[in-house]
Amino acid sequence: MIRLFGAEVRRLTARRMFRYLLLVGLAVLVFLGVLQAIHSSRDIPAAQARARRQAQADAARFSVAPPEAVARCKTGLPAGAPPDACTFHGPTADELYQQIYQDQRYSFAQHAPNVVVGLVVAVSLLGFVIGTSFIGAEWASGTMASLLTWEPRRIRVLLAKLAAPIVVLVVVGAVAVALGLAGSWLIAAIRGTTADTTSHAVNLMIARGARGLLLIGLLTGAGCAIAGFTRHTVAAVVATVAYLVIVENILRHLEPGWERWFLTSNAAAVLTGKFRLFLPPTGGFGSATLQRSFVLHASRGLIYLTALLAALVGIWAFTFTQRDIDEGGGR
């Protein structure tokens, strides 16, 4: 089993698709890091001065109402209206300054959680595509039959083929998150700020990263399983995209309450810790309505997605052990 697993890992990591996607991913990561570093600025007085100048200019412009508007206002005034009814009171420079000024520094505490989310989503999608392609290619090339003449125990073959991409992609995800956080810290330390990085914030980030790795494993496994029983990469990808784009979108409008069972909602809950779903308002007193919401917790999402993966793997195992490996090398 270990040998089989090792051979599958070797095959996966030797694939050009896998290597190219990793290189592209790394390039995108570096590019975004450089972009953030360039965008980050520690020159707070200059930023404040720019914002103040902008606020004063806007306040001056907004304080004078156009004469035509004032004239129109006055003609429409009812008798007995206050004399200053058509006097325009625009926002003050201080009010505008509060809106305009933004801290241009890259903040680790503020931005790093988003970095984790972005990386986990990217590696999860990568894992799904690599998982489907890894299994689909085996059927397309007809090599499954060859492999089974070396290891006829199909459940072992299935488990090795499932475990290899999951383990590899989780490792890739862990490295990506570690690199992302390290890069984020570097940008913050050199060109931004690491203030407010409390131990609580770090713990939350670690928890989010850990849940993210689980999500990567689940989605990679789902890709493998779907390609496993469809025996076709494109069929697996099309079926999944069709589900996400058509089924979830239609049901979201027809039966908003079912959103709690959607893959995307549960994946979001796993990643973010909790995910609030807003349900259609119900009738209240008179014309008032009551806004309803439902909170999906990470643990629930994790159990639900794991159960779905188990079901998909079960279908794959059933078809793999029961169906013949026919002429043409596989299908």
């Binding site: 040998r3 089989l4 090792g6 051979a7 070797r10 095959r11 030797a14 694939r15 050009r16 290619a137 090339s141 007809g142 090599t143 039959a145 060859s146 492999l147 089974l148 003449t149 070396w150 290891e151 006829p152 125990r153 029961q322 013949d324 490996i325 026919d326 002429e327 090398g329 596989g330």
Partner: protein, 308 residues
């Protein structure tokens, strides 16, 4: 203990929405003794590849018993597989990997030494192209790579489905030599082939299948003798007169090109009957049929018998 034992093997494929049935095997029996090079002959669709796939656990039979190297299949196939090399239909490999990497992945599955990969590539003459991608290989090179993967295990039993398919004459001769060499070292070979002359040259025994059943089995000599017993080839100046004389004498005569084929007699008897009536043969002798004749006569005859 036979290397391959198959008894009463049956397989029906059901395909399409209407679940149309196609009977691939209809009670096939097959026995291959250890050390034999056994030819497995049959027309297209006679069940040869299905049989090999069942032997390797790729296809599940509907009925029948299979034992390889004494182990029941599929229950104990995993125990026998390390000693079985196989090439079924066109060998399949990952096209974007090199030949060497393809073999290396399989060798890792079985925990074989990497040196075995080089050894096998050397045997089939692919060592210098081992680092090229398989997608650039010709059909013959892929076939040789398939044979290399079968040899990597140093098997006791080789199951080969049309192993010379796509090979050039030199390659075919190499494979023939290789199988003769393997047989001399005690390896049992089950060779499915359409090339009857090849089977006649290489194999020590043969099973001929038609419509999923074995219609003749035994040593090659015995199978040939069984079909040509008491048959005489005859050429005369007046075939019509000779036919009349021999038929009167209780023999069966068939015309084949310029020849008369006389069944149920030996040459001296035919000569005597003709001589008594003043007909002299231009050529006369026992009919030495080749495997192709036997194959055609048996498989054509079996097509006239409705399946059980």
């Amino acid at each position: 203990m036979a290397a391959v034992e198959v008894a009463g093997l049956r397989k029906v494929y059901r395909g399409g929405l209407r679940r149309r049935e196609r009977r691939a095997l209809d009670g096939l029996d097959l026995v291959v003794a250890p050390g034999e090079v056994h030819g497995f002959l049959g027309p297209n669709g006679s069940g040869k590849t299905t049989t090999l796939r069942i032997l390797l656990g790729l296809v599940r039979p509907d009925a029948g018993e299979v034992r390889l190297l004494g182990r029941p299949v599929p229950a104990e196939l995993a125990g026998a597989v390390p000693e079985i090399g196989s090439v079924v239909e066109a060998p399949r490999f990952f096209p974007s990997f090199s030949g060497r990497r393809n073999l290396d992945l399989l060798a890792r599955v079985a925990g074989l030494e990497p040196a075995r990969v080089d050894e096998a590539l050397e045997i089939v003459g692919l060592a210098d192209r081992a680092r090229d991608r398989v997608k650039g290989y010709s059909l013959g090179m892929r076939q040789r790579l398939g044979i290399a993967q079968a040899l990597m295990k140093r098997p006791r039993l080789l199951l080969l489905d049309e192993p010379t398919n796509g090979l050039d004459p030199a390659g075919i001769r190499e494979v023939r030599r290789l199988m003769a060499h393997l047989a001399s070292t005690g390896v049992t070979v089950l060779l499915s082939s359409h090339m009857l002359s090849e089977v006649q040259q290489i194999c020590t025994s043969v099973t001929i299948v038609a419509q999923g059943r074995a219609v003749r089995t035994g040593t090659v000599d015995a199978v040939l003798a069984g079909d040509t017993a008491a048959r005489v080839r005859l050429r005369v100046a007046d075939p019509a007169a000779a036919t009349a004389v021999l038929t009167e004498g209780g023999l069966t005569v068939a015309h084949q090109d310029d020849w008369l084929m006389v069944s149920g007699a030996v040459p001296s008897e035919v000569n005597r009957l003709l001589g008594e009536r003043g007909i002299w043969a231009d050529e006369l002798g026992p009919d030495h049929a080749d495997l192709e004749d036997v194959f055609l006569s048996l498989t054509q005859a079996s097509q006239e018998i409705p399946p059980a």
